[in-house]
Symmetry: C2
Subunit: 249 residues, 2 copies
DNA sequence: TCAAAAGTGTTGTTGTTACACCCATGT
DNA sequence: ACATGGGTGTAACAACAACACTTTTGA
């Protein structure tokens, strides 16, 4: 809201961008989509995909557009959610840039499409960024860390995990998502009971899929529910350890 | 992140502001701080306090500064948290304005200080805005609704409720906060057990406070814990009813 | 001694954990 | 037949809701 004012010269317009943390599970590992920067600053460095918000676009539309440009996938098929906005004065050397970060979750996506305008887009294991091996451009490592923690806690209280699974999927597929995102194994029997008991989380198709070996598994589609009740809680210890306060001071 | 480009003329810098949803509990009712607009557009209309982000300020600093200007209270005493960013092209008739919304929670604050630069700042019952009686300027009614829902769910999983209580406080004071924010009564005995059992939520002072009539109550200070485990869940029905998807589509 | 608010106990129910066990399939 | 993953049963335990009950105060 433009208001108080009386401070001419102290305020100046800023560039507004959206950056995307696009997560997917590949080969039982959590991956994030990164692009190689084609110019300074941070030329050649890996960064989160993103770009400017255009003149007649909402923030959500900009995020959706970028998502489709980068992945070649219709963004409506994925979970897309605004997470946090970053605007420190020094975060981009070229001037004041406000970035609205979005979290996108999707099933194992096709390798980034050639037709996209991304410079060398690629999937990178989230681990390699988190453990400090790979430092991203700008404050993108921070954005990734914070968005990932959002994703982890979203898995507890909502049904978003199913967004990682191409339909139709089995209970085991879904469990794998939880295990990969949270980083520890879950008891298959107890997991099954919780997710199947939750109202409208999973909708049975009546079909089955045979694994390479073993009993065929029932197939499901995503249900209508967005909130998961009762929630699938990580133990207090785990949550605490992962929790980095978003609160000031 | 300034990147892809190749679209000159399609992007233009925007004004960046922070708007504050400052909540407090007064007379057993949830109140929000509103200011009367001193100019067009929406002259005379009530709006959330807020203002421009200055040149060498982080977003958090801007929010903290506005908070102190509006309430005259040292913002570090309150809970302050970024919630969501609003940037629809049409939300301000004067041009593109990106607003980062912050949620602030605090104990019953002094009536807005004369020295503040706010035009007729006042506390308004949140109810009066939610039930459609009072429509705020711009999209501020939406911002308030969405921020309130954030506050409500934060009460379940975190210890922020204590931010509403001036220290030292009693278990009943804290319960009142939950009842007022959630809008329904809680069982006093069960509530007490949950909050006193949670690790480092409440720190006993050893002191007592006598109510007008009745047995004196033990006094507490806010503990170190930020996450509440196990969480204090509203029933699934309630949460579902309040839940308005933050997801696209 | 009564009203009012603080605080404890109790009981039935529901959810969780850890694991044993059965089921359906391909080789 | 057996290995492999899918799926059910169960028993000990923890959390929860509802509500009876005791405690401590001011009037």
């Amino acid at each position: 809201m433009i208001d108080n004012d009386g401070d001419p010269g102290q305020v100046r317009p800023a560039a507004v961008t959206v950056d995307l943390v696009i997560l997917t599970v590949r080969h039982d590992e959590l991956h994030v989509l990164l692009v190689e920067r084609g110019k300074e600053p941070h030329l050649g460095r890996l960064a989160l995909p993103g770009g400017h918000v255009r003149e007649n676009e909402t923030l959500d539309q900009a995020a959706l557009r970028e998502l489709e440009e980068e992945t070649g996938v219709n963004g409506h098929l994925l979970h897309l959610e605004q997470v946090h906005t970053y605007g420190d004065p020094g975060r981009d050397p070229r001037g004041r840039v406000i970035t609205v970060a979005y979290l996108a979750l999707g099933p194992d996506l096709p390798v980034p499409v050639a037709g996209s305008d991304a410079q060398g887009a690629r999937w990178a294991p989230v681990e390699s960024v988190l453990d400090g091996q790979m430092e991203l451009a700008f404050d993108h490592s921070t954005i990734l860390r914070e968005s990932l923690e959002r994703a982890r806690s979203q898995l507890e209280y909502t049904t978003v995990a199913a967004a990682f699974c191409p339909e139709p999927f089995t209970v085991s597929d879904l469990r794998k998502v939880y295990e990969v995102v949270w980083g520890f194994p879950l008891d298959p029997s107890n997991f099954r009971r919780k997710v199947t008991r939750a109202e409208r989380f999973l909708e049975p198709t009546g079909e089955f899929r045979a694994p390479q070996i073993g009993r065929p598994a029932a197939l499901y589609r995503r249900g209508e529910a967005r909130l998961l009740f009762p929630p699938l809680l990580r133990s207090g210890d785990v949550a605490d350890a992962q929790f980095t306060a978003t609160t000031l001071r």
